[in-house]
């Protein structure tokens, strides 16, 4: 594994969109999945906007599989819990003291479709957007560059950290440390791992800081990019429209909640 990112390279029109346009689309879908009153509307948003968008990005199959893989286990717990223990009066059938209620199942279906759409919105963004390009676009709009750096490097460095942990674990095993067995026993035995891991990481942080300074990370003045992000008037209009829609959806929903 070289990175935790879900991004897969591609040359589709969706891939080529400015990262902020993709973020706006994703943000709109996410907010709509929460605020639209009818779950059928949310389902429509998923199947008639997100799935076609994924197809445009050449990854409809991957998108659908990833959504099902995530939502499947969730449904397995959500439907029985809401069906048997949720509120409702329309009893479909009873098993002993427990009764399956139609209202509970409908609520579970509502939650499921909203989670599916929200998740789809996030996946859509992650599948077709390189994290560094998104951070670059955000930092060009004033997002702190160092925070963007932390987000992107975490995605790349976490697998290395896991490899390092495994290396220390193997080294300790080779010296006779028992790392298997009862949980408490294992936890006590794993304590010797913590020291080398933390000390090694502190030294690494020092070296990383020097390496970043040596490559002018804190150099004042404007930054450039090897791959400048391409934007267009049409995309800027799209982003403004979507941002406006997001605000309207939120206001509409808030007014709906606040009105008697």
């Amino acid at each position: 594994m070289t990175s935790l990112t879900l991004f897969r390279p591609g040359k589709s029109g969706l891939h080529r969109l400015h990262p902020l346009t993709k973020l706006s689309i994703s943000g709109f879908c996410l907010i709509a999945s929460i605020t639209l009153p009818d779950p059928w509307m949310v389902a429509g948003l998923y199947f008639f906007l997100m799935v076609p968008l994924a197809a445009w990005g050449g990854m409809a199959r991957r998108f659908l599989i990833a959504c099902v893989q995530f939502i499947g286990p969730f449904m397995l717990s959500l439907f029985p819990i809401q069906g048997f223990f949720g509120r409702g009066t329309t009893i479909l059938f009873e098993i002993g003291r427990f009764s399956l209620k139609q209202e509970g199942l409908l609520l579970a279906a509502d939650y499921t479709v909203r989670i599916l759409a929200g998740l789809g919105a996030a996946m859509l963004l992650m599948f077709v957007t390189r994290p560094d390009h998104l951070m670059q676009a955000l930092s060009e709009r004033g997002f702190p560059r160092s925070l963007g750096y932390i987000v992107v490097t975490t995605l790349q460095i976490l697998p290395r950290f896991q490899e390092k942990t495994q290396m220390i674990l193997n080294a300790q095993r080779a010296r006779g440390l028992e790392t298997e067995g009862h949980l408490l026993h294992r936890a006590r035995r794993l304590l010797p791992l913590v020291g080398p891991l933390i000390m090694g990481s502190i030294i690494d942080i020092d070296e990383r800081a020097i390496a970043l300074e040596a490559r002018l990370f804190n150099h004042p003045g404007p930054k450039t990019s090897l791959h400048p992000l391409v934007d267009s008037r049409a995309q800027r209009i799209t982003r403004s429209t979507l941002s406006g829609l997001i605000v309207l959806l939120v206001l509409w929903r808030l007014l709906g909640w606040l009105s008697p």
């Binding site: 560094d132 750096y149 290395r160 300074e213 002018l216 450039t224 090897l226």
Partner: protein, 283 residues
């Protein structure tokens, strides 16, 4: 290119100086090796040459350090980074982690400098060619071997076009193949690019072949600054915690066992010199 006069440095909260009364001058286009036992001050000297001492590691610095025309104490780190390329031993820690391909990783420093993209692309391609990484340009930096990663670290510094390269044990974590790759890249920088190189290492055979001069440090003090052969054949080398090159060791052993007569000539420090020594054609 480099001028150190009476340099003494103590890290914060330490009494013993890491560098003591160092006087050193290095001209442009020279390849200078730094050797010494662990704790002798090699890394501290490298950090002082690149400005991280005293700007990053605070502590107390006495004396004068001037590098590429910049008085180090008064020059901000950003300016120093443009003049001095620093490469250290762990290639993994020198990868920014913020870029997804080797080509983008090399461009990272130029992006920070605000170099226009067309110029950036050309400089990146040149740096990749100089370090032999053109074929790996589209790979993930983390998918490279140790030697390739270290060459990537060098390329990332080369692209900034510093006049001086300071390398702190750049091959200590590399196998012989990786070491060869890195030294070949360094040799190309010196011979083709006319750069100045200061390289701290324990791998004396490589310095014997490449360095114009070797500076020997002990407990923060500079105790020799001379031609590689003269420094690496010093009789007190072992007592300073430094093992002589395998060629010197073989020659000494041959003399001890009587295979070769000690005729007072210099001991070998490179393969060619060893061949001449054992052929009886030594200078």
């Amino acid at each position: 290119m480099i001028r150190l006069a009476g340099v003494t440095y103590r890290y914060p909260r330490t009494e013993h100086p890491a560098l003591q009364d160092i006087d050193l001058q290095v001209s442009a286009g020279e390849f200078v090796g730094l050797i010494g036992a662990n704790g002798s001050g090699k890394s501290s000297l490298c950090l002082a040459l690149s400005g991280f001492i005293p700007h990053f590691y605070k502590g107390r610095l006495e004396g004068e350090i001037e590098v590429a025309g910049h008085p180090v104490r008064e020059t901000p780190l950003g300016t120093m980074a443009g003049a001095v390329g620093l490469v250290f031993q762990n290639p993994f820690n020198q990868i920014s982690g913020a870029r997804f391909t080797v080509r983008e990783e090399v461009a990272f420093g130029l992006e920070n400098m605000g170099v226009p993209p067309p110029e950036m692309a050309s400089r990146v391609d040149t740096a990749l060619a100089q370090t032999g990484l053109r074929d790996q340009a589209g790979h993930s930096p983390y998918a490279l071997s140790g030697g390739q990663q270290q060459r990537l670290a060098i390329a990332s510094v080369v692209v900034l076009r510093p006049r001086l390269f300071v390398l702190d044990e750049p091959t200590s974590q590399l196998d012989p193949v990786g070491t060869r790759e890195v030294y070949a890249a360094l040799r190309a920088l010196v011979s083709e690019g006319g750069h100045t190189v200061v390289c701290a290492t324990h791998k004396l055979e490589w310095l014997a072949s490449f360095a114009d001069r070797i500076v020997l440090l002990r407990e923060g003090k500079m105790i020799a600054d001379d031609h590689p052969r003269r420094v690496l054949t010093r009789p007190d080398l072992r007592s300073l915690g430094i093992a002589p090159t395998r060629y010197t060791a073989a020659a000494l052993e041959a003399q001890r066992q009587g295979f070769r007569e000690n005729r007072g000539g210099e001991l070998p420090v490179t393969l060619d010199q060893a061949a001449a020594f054992f052929d009886g054609n030594q200078d």
